[in-house]
Symmetry: C2
């Protein structure tokens, strides 16, 4: 992950490097379905993270439901480096560019494709199913959002546990 | 500004490049007191901007007061490239590193110094006076915040008008 960030010119402090979150979503196949992230700030109003996706790595389908009296998390994804394909609810794109992770096809249900290259961004409304996959060279995505409460995320795949697997 | 962003590896779309905001705060001395910025997203919940400061350029002292029933803007400044000195309310730092813009000394009143190098960040509470100045090589700062309503900002210098001067 550090190599990816270096390539993109994104600087972390030593303490942030130690707090990088490696999310394998309890599936045990990090390279296919997983996400690497660093949270810069997450307060009662807003949140900013840097997401790193390795080559063809996929963040599994999920949504952010209304919680604690708020309407659910709104997320703006801004691609900083590389390329990522984002899928959201809506008209399915006929021939998508991503490859659905083998053996998990039943747990990917939305297929409206948005391609994000460096400089492109897209805002996902609350309570909207979405998943995303990096292209062959991987991707770095800045996420700007309302407060992040990952423990309330709803994943389509019932096997998924949204807990940090390891640090480092 | 584009050159600074290129150096730091920050990619903008062509449309974003056309919408770069050059703020001289109505003072007519952009190189001394001014700010270049691009707003990525500003919705009813959160805002994300990239700020560029030229060599020794200063963003004048101001605060974000409570407006429209909210407590005022909270801002997280994350230095991405270069170095910036941020001054906020609190114990004055004995010998500050920035140089107060000549002729405007009366309008700079807070002197608690926070030095931000690439990877460092600081969150400014609502309604708190602050100003900041880039070091000799300039700086790029990501701003994550609550909703931005620049027209309500209160500047210490009564000559200041917070309006975009030009685009480009």
């Amino acid at each position: 992950m550090i190599d990816y960030l270096d390539t993109a010119g994104i600087v972390l402090t030593e303490q942030e490097k130690e707090n990088i979150e490696i999310a394998d979503f309890g599936l045990g196949q990090l390279e296919e379905q997983g996400l690497e992230l660093i949270t810069y700030i997450n307060n009662e109003h807003y949140c900013a993270k840097e997401l790193v996706l390795f080559s063809n790595q996929t963040c599994p389908e999920h949504k952010h439901p209304p919680v604690l009296g708020s309407e659910g998390k709104t997320e703006t994804f801004r691609c900083r480096w590389g390329k990522v394909w984002l899928y959201v609810e809506g008209e399915p794109t006929p021939s998508i560019k991503a490859t659905v992770p083998q053996g998990s096809e039943a747990h990917y249900t939305v297929y409206h494709e948005i391609e994000l290259k460096a400089g492109d961004q897209y805002t996902i409304p609350p309570n909207t199913l979405h998943w995303f996959q990096a292209a062959e060279n991987g991707a770095i995505v800045s996420e700007f959002s309302t407060t992040s409460r990952d423990e309330y995320d709803i994943f389509t795949d019932p096997r998924i546990k949204r807990v940090p697997e390891t640090n480092g």
